[in-house]
Symmetry: C2
Subunit: 252 residues, 2 copies
């Protein structure tokens, strides 16, 4: 979606290191924004983005107009069921249908051997993996770790809209997740205790909590007792700081 930051650069570098030909899309997709959301104010500077892509050795940039992706009479949607209905899907109805449809179209246009997605959007990554498998789109979906500022704030194009005080509050998402990791490491296995610890930490730092989830990293089913789970659980959070909605996640 443009508005490139070091998280996007990490995607480009991973692709550049592993692939012969690297292509990137820039498309602020209206279909994945809801009615009250920030489509109109979503940041972006095309010249800057193209400069970054050139510097990172991208071979081809695809920056279609909305009419190219959604031609006259466009009326097809791709949906992933259960994974799309919880967390981000519950807070942002239609969001993942918009994501799945445009990613399906980009994958069918480009037919990449590998496609790179950031772990920051953990649920999106799961939705894309499910769709890619189910429709036999043939890409290997590569997850790239979340890039953070030195103080822990996950990079997001939306961070550009934060005032100084808001940025300080936004650290509450990371602080909540980091606390859960610490508690889990110390032996806490009760998921509700962990959720409550995250909620409290986020609220204290000034984040209006949207959701806090401790869930199975494949299905996003909420967990009760992490002692019963073989692999790591996933902690996912969303919240508002001022008008800005932010998300983050960490493996426990």
């Amino acid at each position: 979606m443009g508005a490139l930051h070091a998280g996007h650069v990490a995607l480009l570098r991973a692709a550049r290191a592993e692939c012969e030909f690297v292509t990137a899309s820039i498309f602020v997709n209206p279909a994945q924004f809801g009615p009250g959301e920030d489509l109109a104010t979503y940041p972006g500077n095309r010249e800057y983005d193209l400069g970054v892509m050139e510097d990172e050795g991208v071979d081809l940039v695809f920056a279609p107009g909305t009419d190219e992706i959604y031609p006259d009479g466009f009326d097809t949607t791709v949906s992933v069921g259960q994974l799309s209905q919880r967390l981000e899907g519950e807070s942002r109805p239609g969001h993942f249908q918009g994501v799945a449809t445009v990613v399906c179209k980009l994958l069918t246009i480009f037919r990449p051997d590998r496609a790179y997605f950031g772990e920051k959007d953990a649920q999106q990554l799961l939705v894309v993996r499910r769709m890619n498998t189910d429709l036999a789109l043939g890409a290997e979906i590569v997850a790239v770790p979340t890039v953070r500022d030195p103080d822990g704030l996950a990079l997001s194009s939306r961070n550009a809209g934060l005032t100084g005080d808001e940025r300080s509050a936004a650290l509450g998402l990371h602080a909540g997740l980091a606390l859960a990791v610490k508690l889990r490491t110390e032996g806490e296995t009760n998921a509700e205790v962990l959720r409550e610890a995250i909620r409290t930490k986020m609220s204290k730092r000034g984040v209006r909590v949207d959701y806090v989830s401790i869930s199975d990293p494949q299905t996003l089913d909420e967990l009760d007792d992490l002692g019963n789970v073989s692999g790591p659980a996933l902690a996912l959070v969303a919240g508002f700081v001022g008008e800005t909605r932010l998300i983050d996640n960490m493996a426990l």
Copy 2:
């Protein structure tokens, strides 16, 4: 879906005449059958079908198991909006979602230059065209005219289930459509007059009418006055003969 008849053979021959490499799928797709429908009794003889395909010079037959198309955890659907909601979509809820999803998957697996569909399933053809355009699937969708028995009955795998009397009644679909063509040729432009003439003819021949439509051949919007329409209109019918549901259509 197997159960090959001369209509399928016409598809294979059109493809064989125009393409270097011809592939055909045989897959009775559970997702496009509704709860009360005839999935369990849908006809088919794999040996016979493979023999026909060999005779017609098909280079590759893809006959996947249900598990191959719908692997464990499958949860993705492709939907075309307005076109899917009327006529067959209204009578068979979920039908076109099942069709669109499997055709999308087959097109992404095969990535054909051309894909051949019969005009008998006129609405399916429109749904597939819309999806192919919208998701940039890259196939040229080729329509092949409906093949009929000498007395006019449109070929359908479901005709195999008709008794002698039922087959005679089933001719009511063709008789209704042929009457509409005749009336239109003689100057009738009132769509409701044409619909009523078709309904009456079908009923008299013993068809339980499901729907009769006189509509725009691109949008399937119902028409009022064919005098106001530039190109031909499309007449589409569906009805039951005994337990068997049949469809047919003709350009007016």
